[in-house]
């Protein structure tokens, strides 16, 4: 059974709306979703990066995914709209509370700067809302698939309402429309998304092997998780194969 993920659900301050979007996603069969906070830094003054509301404050009870027995997993994601790559420091402390990081480039030069093996995302809900955006979405998606040869692409909604979500097989079919092959289109909704999430976890760890957690004991000192025995463990091999930094 493959795991389907939708890694772009727009954040709204309306709790009920957000809860209904997550419930619809669980009903449609998505095992994991990510709530997207968009941040646009202006050059004038330094703004604070929004901190994500904890999941248990947003949604009371996580709905169970249709066809499985587990509840849906909700992650936090930050999208930074920028035109200049000098602003971006991937290890800043404010980014630690977000599970996924994304960059929305507004200029060409940023595209070249981030050319090293990232995963590209195509959002389809604009195509549902407006017919002019539909043409642009399809045109851009087709040219993206040409450039990247159909690998390292994910398809997601940027849904603001539950009626803008579509089921995972529907999105797989849309992938065929964008020029992906059958296998690539399904991967774009399942295994590529999963590798994005796994890789994002390694951002917090040192080469994907050791992670530190603050322990809540009385001594309140940092405690290290048991390190792996040798460097040739599975996580290092996974990094060599997949090459997906910084999404």
């Amino acid at each position: 059974m493959s795991v389907f993920m939708d890694l772009n659900l727009s954040f709204t301050a309306d709790k009920k709306l957000l809860q209904s979007v997550v419930e619809t996603a669980a009903h449609l069969g998505f095992s994991t979703v990510a709530i997207n906070y968009v941040f646009e830094p202006t050059a004038k003054k330094k703004q604070d990066i929004p901190s994500p509301t904890p999941i248990n404050e947003l949604i009371d009870q996580l709905p169970v995914v249709q066809g499985r027995s587990r509840p849906i997993r909700v992650l936090n994601r930050l999208t930074i709209v920028m035109s200049d790559s000098s602003h971006f420091r991937p290890n800043a402390a404010e980014y630690r509370c977000f599970d996924l990081l994304a960059v929305q480039p507004t200029t060409d030069k940023l595209f070249h700067a981030v050319d090293r093996g990232v995963v590209f995302e195509v959002s389809y809900s604009a195509a549902i809302r407006d017919s002019t955006m539909r043409r642009y979405t399809i045109a851009n998606a087709v040219s993206l698939m040409d450039t990247c040869k159909g690998k390292n692409v994910i398809l997601s909604s940027a849904a603001e309402k539950p009626l803008e979500l579509r089921g995972p097989y529907d999105i797989t079919n849309l992938g065929l429309l964008f020029g992906l092959s059958d296998g690539d289109a399904k991967e774009a909704v399942s295994s590529t998304c999963r590798s994005v999430v796994l890789h994002a976890e390694t951002r917090r760890t040192a080469s994907g092997i050791i992670s530190t957690m603050r322990s809540c004991s009385e001594s309140s000192c940092q405690q290290e998780a048991p390190p792996a025995a040798a460097d040739s463990e599975a996580p290092a091999a996974k990094r060599a194969k997949h090459q997906l930094p910084d999404d």
Partner: protein, 129 residues
């Protein structure tokens, strides 16, 4: 042949592999509307789907023949039949249809199969009591 001979001879099995066996694909779809009390007739629904095909694929798309085999007006659930060649077009135009008479809508595709019999059972709605 005597019964003893028949038993000694190993049974003949023949394996038949069919590719693209069925000329049609069948879809079970459900229309979800923002205003849940809206009702559509079968003709309205077919016209709506044709308008979706036309807006995405133009006149050539609108010429794609599909049939509305069964329609339940209360739950807005329909069975569609389309040529296998036209499945991707019909499915993608159903996916990208966003509004019906100025209200938001979504087509939920429940089942797709080349065989109509497969649409009678749905393991997603299985209730184990």
């Amino acid at each position: 042949m005597s019964p003893a001979d028949k038993k000694d001879k190993p049974a003949d099995y023949q394996r038949v592999v069919l590719k693209n066996a069925s000329p049609y694909h069948y879809m079970k779809v459900c229309l979800v509307l923002e205003d849940e009390s809206t009702r559509l007739s079968a003709v309205d629904l077919k016209q709506f789907i044709i308008s979706g095909l036309k807006s995405l694929y133009g006149e050539v798309g609108a010429a794609l023949t599909f049939d509305l085999l069964k329609y339940d007006e209360d739950t807005l659930t329909a069975f569609l039949r389309v040529n296998s060649r036209g499945l991707v077009k019909l499915w993608s135009s159903l996916t990208l249809l966003g509004s019906y008479q100025n209200q938001a809508c979504a087509f939920r595709v429940l089942q797709v199969s080349p065989f109509l019999l497969a649409l009678t059972g749905n393991s997603r709605e299985l209730q184990l009591d």
